[in-house]
């Protein structure tokens, strides 16, 4: 009961926290130069083209005012925030400034499945690989296997994923005739995706996913593997494991039946991040491989000052982040019944 009350309290706290995050960001971005009004002016003056024949003529004050009114910048900030939050449903119904034929929600819902595909596959693969690897390393602690796998894992950790991506592209995607041409240069799917058979679609999708997925995984491996290994080693050293062995149980039995469950607790704390991980995408990896996912959209929104998209992504990621933390605590409590949320 006390747990239920705790989680209800946590859920209720999400509302003011969410308003705090979005309101402060909303106010902050008013002071950053280059909002939609300035963007529209740049666009109209043709200033983004160095070589435009009609490039750069002046915009009159009347036109400036018309642009302001068009983007709602003629209203006071609290009205705008209220409109954003309530009338436009967290800005989801507003049109993107850059992709002007789409609403923020349309854009996000288009990009989300792409990031979800990579995020979820990466997440599952990293848990599938890292947990057994961590266990194997713990069981062979200090051995040759442990040493070599550590070297590989740390080298992977040291390489920034986007740099790794660029190397992979250079070596395996045929952009240079000196190397191999095994994988596509990027993109989520081939241009002729719609015309492919089911099997063709599956292979095409996998073909496009191999290199970016390797980049997604490379950084996560070290943290998760070592977390698993150290957590398990920690548990193996505990009294209760010695008790199991003293009572005639094998080390294997002690680990699989007792230590593993406890060793999973630190791993479970990261599980809440699956919410944001799937949503946020990996900005630089998506950029390197030209994958039109959430990461790219976020970067695009920031660079081109597409505030409505930026705010929309922020609102959703904050919400998911807040809920993810509650979910982590929930998993935590589920794994370890000793955990209570009572005040001492």
């Amino acid at each position: 009961m006390e747990r239920l009350a705790y989680f209800i309290r946590r859920l209720l706290l999400v509302i003011p926290t969410f308003i705090g995050i979005t309101l402060s960001t909303f106010i902050l971005i008013q002071f950053v130069p280059g909002g939609p009004v300035e963007q529209a002016i740049i666009q109209m003056r043709g200033l983004q083209n160095v070589q435009g024949a009609n490039a750069s003529q002046a915009i009159s004050e009347r036109q400036r005012e018309a642009i302001k009114a068009h983007f709602g910048f003629d209203k006071p900030i609290h009205v705008r925030y209220w409109n954003w939050l309530v009338h436009d449903k967290m800005g989801m119904e507003v049109r993107s400034y850059k992709y002007s034929n789409k609403t923020v929600w349309e854009l996000i819902s288009e990009r989300f499945p792409i990031s979800l595909t990579f995020g979820l596959t990466g997440f599952i693969l990293s848990y599938l690989v890292c947990i057994p690897l961590g266990i194997a390393k713990a069981l062979r602690n200090g051995g040759v296997f442990d040493l070599w796998s550590s070297v590989i894992v740390f080298v992977g950790y040291a390489i920034p994923p986007f740099a790794f991506g660029m190397l992979l592209k250079l070596f395996f995607s045929g952009s240079s005739t000196h190397f191999l041409d095994w994988f596509p240069l990027g993109g989520f799917r081939s241009d002729n995706w719609a015309t492919l058979s089911l099997w063709g679609k599956i292979t095409d999708q996998l073909h496009h996913m191999v290199l970016p997925l390797l980049c997604y995984l490379i950084g996560n491996f070290a943290v998760l593997t070592l977390l698993m290994k150290n957590s398990l080693l920690d548990q193996i050293g505990q009294d209760y494991i010695r008790t199991v062995i003293a009572k005639g149980g094998t080390l294997r039995r002690a680990i699989w039946l007792h230590a593993l469950r406890n060793a999973m607790i630190p791993i479970a704390t990261g599980i809440g991040s699956i919410f944001t991980l799937m949503f946020a995408g990996a900005v630089l990896i998506e950029r390197v491989f030209n994958i039109p996912g959430m990461g790219w959209l976020s970067l695009d929104a920031m660079v081109s000052r597409d505030y409505m998209v930026f705010m929309g992504i922020l609102a959703l990621t904050s919400l998911l982040g807040l809920l993810g933390r509650i979910f982590s605590d929930f998993c935590y409590a589920l794994i370890d019944p000793r955990i209570t949320f009572e005040k001492n």
Partner: protein, 596 residues
């Protein structure tokens, strides 16, 4: 090799010259009697319709509606879909029929009457009418539509008058040579297709078009395929023989040029223009280049050349002193930069209108050569003295410090060299990097000392926006340096009513010489040729590109050559080399003009 064309068409602009004030003649009609439409002299008779060309154009634009998004890509797409009232001859720059096959200019030089070609139809079969023209005009000038600078040109006219369904009359508010240009290059959209829509939301869907191409397949942020309309009425015109040949023009979008270049090397893009010398010199090697599967050519034509330089804010000290500005120009070691950073690929500017000069008319402007002694002398004359303790120049107790406002990290390598040379004479240069929007805000507020500015050029030189003193204090204008000179103002006013390009050019040369002597910019360098890479499977005119066009002229003049494409495919399969092409192609070597 040479193509000739009887040139019966007299320059519409030149003709106006003869109508000197006080000797006004009656309304003039164009084209003149006896004029006959001829094929484009640059189009090859071998051109065949068909095939696809895939071109990298840049990042995905915010709109394909050029009236809403004033950028080169949208302009390219929009012009393929929506024709203009008149067209421009690719060799002589004269106006030739577009949507309108006849036009008259009143004796007041302010009234322009256009007659729509009776064959002109929209893609849904409806005729193009005067109402379409007036509706497009009204739409652009409507305050609630975000059509920006397109308003500026049209605002100089009264609302056009519909004479009948195929005739429309414009009246300009003042006499100016630019008026006819504005009207001639005015793209018309169909009223019946768009009148009920919010114009600000017409971005990617254009169900009814009037040009040679319509939107085919669009994959957002990746590519746009434009489909040729075989039934386009314009193909009945002789001037369109041998041009606009590709069945599909695929425009590829990439967020950065590096990715696009990778895709080009892999064969996913057919045509790629190179803008950096490092790529041109060092990254165009390997099998496809060595075996001529990819052609690499430098095309010298008459593509207008803009200028770039370090713009100085003449509104504030010490840049209000011409001696200081001259000194700053003498302290920039352009030769060294060109040699060490740019593989000697560029020429050094000595003019703000480089196109005005050629072998026959050489620029009289001085080159500000790198000369520290001269710079020191000029600075001393201007009252700047070295503080022996700090080594910094000072005047009235104020140290000489320049804040260089930049928005691009790639400029740093040049600025560092400049910084060192300035330091040597006692000037401190601080680099302040901002992003586009923040940079623009500072520029609009005139809050800068010095910045890097690159300007494009037009076929028609118009010095007003950048050099007239009335533009100097206008927020968001082009006179960023705040340049003001009475004589230049006078010359700008004078050229407005001159319709002869040669005469105007003479005036612009005088303006150029005054401006150059006043040094509002530390002039940099530029390139006078187009660097082109393409997979060797296309047919093209001997001149490769048009007279005034950049690499995008390929879209109009090239064609897909089945034999060349098969040959390329075979060569790639077997590893065989293809015959090489000329590395340098000069327009004048292949086109010597036209016979009367």
């Amino acid at each position: 090799m040479f193509q000739f064309r009887n040139r019966l068409l007299l320059a519409s602009l030149s003709l106006l010259t003869f109508a000197a004030p006080g000797f006004l003649q009656a309304e003039e009609s164009f084209p003149p009697e006896g004029w006959q439409e001829r094929p484009d002299p640059l189009a090859s008779p071998d051109a065949m319709p068909g095939g696809t060309i895939s071109v990298y154009v840049g990042d995905y634009p915010k709109s394909f509606n050029y009236y809403l998004d004033n950028n080169v890509i949208s302009s390219l797409i929009f012009n393929l879909m929506y024709p203009t009232l008149l067209e421009v001859d690719g060799v002589s720059k004269e106006f030739i029929p577009g949507i309108c096959n006849r036009w008259t200019i009143g004796d007041d030089k302010q009234t322009f009457t256009f007659h729509i070609d009776p064959r002109a139809k929209w893609s849904d079969g409806k005729p193009m009418t005067a109402e379409d023209i007036v509706w497009t005009f009204d739409t652009i000038l409507d305050d609630k539509n975000l059509t920006g600078v397109h308003k500026v040109g049209l605002e100089t006219f009264e609302r056009p008058e519909i004479i009948d369904q195929s005739t429309v009359r414009f009246k300009a508010k003042e006499v100016h040579w630019r008026n006819l240009l504005v009207l001639a290059t005015f793209n018309v959209m169909p009223k019946h297709a768009f009148a009920k829509q919010d114009f600000n939301l017409i971005n990617f869907e254009f169900p009814v078009v009037g040009g040679a191409y319509k939107i085919g397949e669009l994959a957002e942020s990746r590519y746009l395929r434009m489909q040729r309309r075989a039934d386009w009425w314009g193909f009945k015109r002789a001037s369109n023989e041998g041009v606009l040949n590709f069945n599909t023009i695929e425009l590829r979008f990439f967020p950065d040029r590096e990715q696009a270049f990778d895709a080009f090397n892999k064969g996913q893009i057919d045509l790629f223009q190179v803008y950096t010398s490092a790529r041109w010199v060092r990254q165009t090697q390997g099998e496809p280049y060595d075996k001529n599967w990819i052609a690499k050519q430098q095309i010298y034509n008459y593509d207008p050349i803009g200028f770039q330089g370090f713009a100085m804010n003449l509104r504030r000290a010490p840049f209000d002193d011409v001696r200081v500005r001259k000194a700053l120009a003498h302290l920039l070691d352009r030769e060294k930069m060109n040699e060490t950073i740019m593989y000697n690929q560029y020429f050094l500017h000595s003019s703000y209108f480089e196109d005005l000069y050629d072998r026959t008319k050489k620029s009289p402007n001085p080159q500000f050569a790198f000369d520290k002694a001269k710079a020191r002398k000029l600075l001393e004359e201007a009252g700047w003295k070295v503080n022996k303790q700090t080594g910094i120049l000072e005047k009235n107790g104020r140290p000489f410090e320049i804040i260089f406002l930049t928005r691009d990290a790639s400029t740093d390598k040049f600025l560092v060299i400049y910084q060192e040379d300035l330091k040597d004479v006692g000037i401190r240069l601080k680099i302040e990097r901002k992003d586009w929007a923040a940079w623009l805000k500072d520029m609009d507020d005139f809050n800068f000392d010095m910045t890097w500015a690159s300007w494009g050029a037009s076929l028609w030189r118009d010095p007003e926006g950048m050099w007239h003193s009335k533009e100097a204090e206008r927020t968001g204008g082009n006179n960023v340096t705040g340049f003001a000179d009475d004589r230049v103002d006078e010359l700008i006013e004078k050229q407005k009513t001159i319709f002869d390009i040669e005469q105007r050019d003479e005036i612009v040369r005088e303006i150029d010489q005054i401006v150059t002597s006043e040094v509002p910019y530390v002039l940099l360098w530029n390139i006078d040729y187009t660097r082109l890479l393409y997979w060797n499977k296309f047919g093209m005119p001997d001149t490769v590109l048009s007279k005034f066009g950049d690499g995008n002229a390929a879209i109009s003049y090239w064609w897909y050559d089945d034999y060349a494409a098969a040959d390329l495919q075979q060569a790639r399969k077997t590893g065989r080399a293809l015959p090489g092409k000329d590395f340098q192609v000069r327009f004048d070597d292949w086109y010597e003009g036209e016979e009367e």
